[in-house]
Symmetry: C2
Subunit: 413 residues, 2 copies
């Protein structure tokens, strides 16, 4: 059994790095955007703990960290566990951190009990999982898995034009592990569910079937800034109206049911010049599409593109669409799901098999080796990407106990 | 006749103050938001010219400037001319500046020709006409006219929480002229049309019938920030969707024709946290409504409020609406319109009577004394609040020649 309090204390302490007061919720939130000074401070804290636990640390070319506990046969591919510690701008303490600190807790527990394993065990911290700073989620694990080329990842820029490469260099994060990395024996990640299913069903552990498909688009809508009072309707090229039409249309697509279990979100909107009495001249919006069904995802993208043409026609704007992230649905192997379920059941925990709504590093590493995920329930309808995100100490410990047992079984096989 | 080149040179020189490169149009634009250092630099330039022309300068409590040329009977109420030199963030050189520099040009022409007038002539620069920094348009002239209380105006704040009062004090702009000001004998303002009507009709001078009603609302939409991938539709409180629904609905109201000649614009939108994979938790949008018909304006506001309730119901958000500006339709007196038309006709200029789409200081001063306006055509469909805003040197001179003659007639009556 892992040490529940030690795990909780580490989550709490890491949650202080990049803490801010969230006005919306009047709670303390976490803001550790990837490769910012706050993210690096968080890494330093965790890497310090990893070193104290006697782990050998290496980095790969995209700054992913691998902290290794030697195996009895150290030439065997390791069992890899991990997740990320970068966060969105309005985060809670659990998203990603539970997977990394849970991996550390597994290692600490093995040490406390003098347990060695046949295979090495490695704990990974992946770079820019959230994708909100540089635009592509799971960037670090996608490079590790070979889906995204290192050069492409390095050249991505944030809103201020600062590149991934420049930030990696500035912080000295480029390591000597080549990418794609050597396939591990298996990969396991424990994560807060970030959705309502487990709590609603009263289940303690989510056995994750896979991750739904994700598509991210960045739309640049070019209209014409003009006087709001003096510009008649027929002379307007209203980029804000075009953005609104797309937002409403996307919601209609979701509610139509025509695209299976499509979810669509326009999270970001930047108007220019963004003034009360000026018809918006330029608007940037982002589109986040999710679908467990890859075919329905493609159909929704095609239909959306067709709708762009309609909006251009109606409003006179021009719409430029750039795909900033695109992952297919990922199914984790049955035997990994069964492994997780078996450990949970043996611990007397109730389970449900669910598909992840969020993207995860496990979805990328699944391209290299068998991967699986363990979800723990979140309170408040599973709200996430919000300071209200919360999982109890007991739920976190349950998840990491399942992880511990699964790691032991994999590492000794 | 006024000096066309001198007028043009002054417009050009003032246009260099607060100049910036506009990426959208690849043109030089003007950015002199009210009471910023750029606005003050613009005022200093113009006030220097006013002093050189021998005018006596005074300020009122809201920082409006009155530059006086004595009359033969200096105890009579003056003929007031003027406008504003503050600008939106993406402005051209004409909006407001033509009225102020045209007033100066009138005085210079009278001096050049050794002409005295029975009544004094004053040239005004009004504070924060655009309303884009502190939220209420025609703020300075509305205080001068007594529609808005000084204390209410001073307490308005910009996006950074800086108040009008603090900026007036910082720049030492609080003068000794009490507000509301003493009614002038009459008020005249020359302005670029900012719309397409004159150019489309091939007319040289717009005789302005009046100014349409303006209503500005600031909507704060409170939803709930949540994960874009893991939050099912029924648990969303999507403030961005609510904003988009309102934007699309407003456009439908305009196109329905049910509200007369309503125009509606959502110019500003600020999402929070404004990230690709987060359902917007809070959104601020502005609504700009215009209507020549006050009754139809009121009906549109009522119906919009009713729609807010519908959006709250559908999306689960809460909508808070604040009215930041509200002016009724203003009709300029027939005799002021006739005066302008007579001068234009005597100069051989073609005219059209039109209603202003934009708000103007003349609409406020009209509450104190007979007011009138002279419009000159703008090129490119009359585009304004955009660096492409342009009126030819000839068109500007035409407008100011009409102003000169009208001022002479009023000042000698
Ligand atoms: N787990 C998580 O929040 N990942 C970020 C990528 C996504 O938006 O799904
Ligand atoms: N003339 C002008 O652009 N005034 C600003 C107020 C408005 O938006 O109409």
């Amino acid at each position: 059994r892992i040490d529940k309090d030690r795990l909780w204390d580490s989550l709490t302490e890491l949650g202080e790095v990049g803490a801010y007061h969230d006005e919306d919720t009047d709670l303390q939130g976490v803001r550790r955007l990837a490769l910012t000074d706050e993210d690096i401070a968080g890494r330093e804290l965790v890497m310090g703990w990893m070193r104290e636990a006697g782990l050998a640390l290496r980095r790969d070319r995209i700054g992913n960290v691998y902290a290794r506990r030697a195996g009895e046969d150290d030439s065997l591919p390791p069992v890899l566990v991990g997740s990320h510690i970068d966060s969105v701008a309005t985060a809670g303490r659990f998203d990603g951190c539970l997977g990394v600190l849970g991996g550390l807790e597994v290692v600490r527990t093995l040490d406390d009990n003098g347990i060695s394993t046949r295979r090495p065990v490695e704990v990974a911290i992946f770079t820019e999982e959230e994708g909100v700073r540089f635009g592509t989620d799971m960037l670090g694990s996608a490079v590790a898995a070979g889906r995204i080329q290192l050069a492409d990842a390095r050249s991505q820029v944030d809103r201020d034009g600062v590149s991934v490469g420049a930030e990696l260099d500035r912080h000295g994060l480029v390591g000597d592990v080549a990418v794609p990395i050597q396939p591990p024996h298996a990969y396991l990640e424990c994560h807060i569910e970030q959705g309502p299913i487990l709590a609603a069903g009263g289940k303690q552990i989510g056995v994750v079937r896979g991750v739904q498909a994700i598509t991210w688009l960045e739309l640049t809508i070019g209209g014409r800034a003009a006087h709001a009072g003096a510009t008649p309707q027929h002379l307007r090229k209203n980029a804000g109206l075009a953005a609104a039409m797309i937002t409403v249309h996307l919601n209609g697509m979701v509610e139509s049911g025509d695209y299976g279990r499509l979810l669509a979100t326009v999270g970001r909107q930047d108007n220019y010049p963004n003034l009360i009495n000026i018809v918006p001249g330029n608007v940037l919006i982002t589109v986040d599409l999710r679908n467990p069904d890859g075919e329905a995802m493609q159909r929704s993208i095609d239909d959306l593109q067709a709708y762009f043409a309609e909006v251009e026609e109606t409003t006179g704007v021009t719409i430029t669409s750039r795909t900033t992230a695109r992952t297919p649905p990922v199914d984790f192997p049955e035997h990994m799901q069964d492994l997780v379920e078996k450990q949970a059941t043996e611990l007397g925990l109730t389970c449900d098999r669910i598909t992840s709504g969020a993207g995860h590093d496990a979805g990328e590493i699944a391209a290299l080796s068998p991967a699986g995920m363990i979800f723990v329930p979140g309170l408040y309808d599973g709200i996430s990407h919000n300071p209200r995100e919360y999982s109890t100490p007991e739920a976190c410990a349950d998840g990491i106990n399942v992880l511990l047992r699964a790691v032991l079984e994999l590492a000794n096989s």
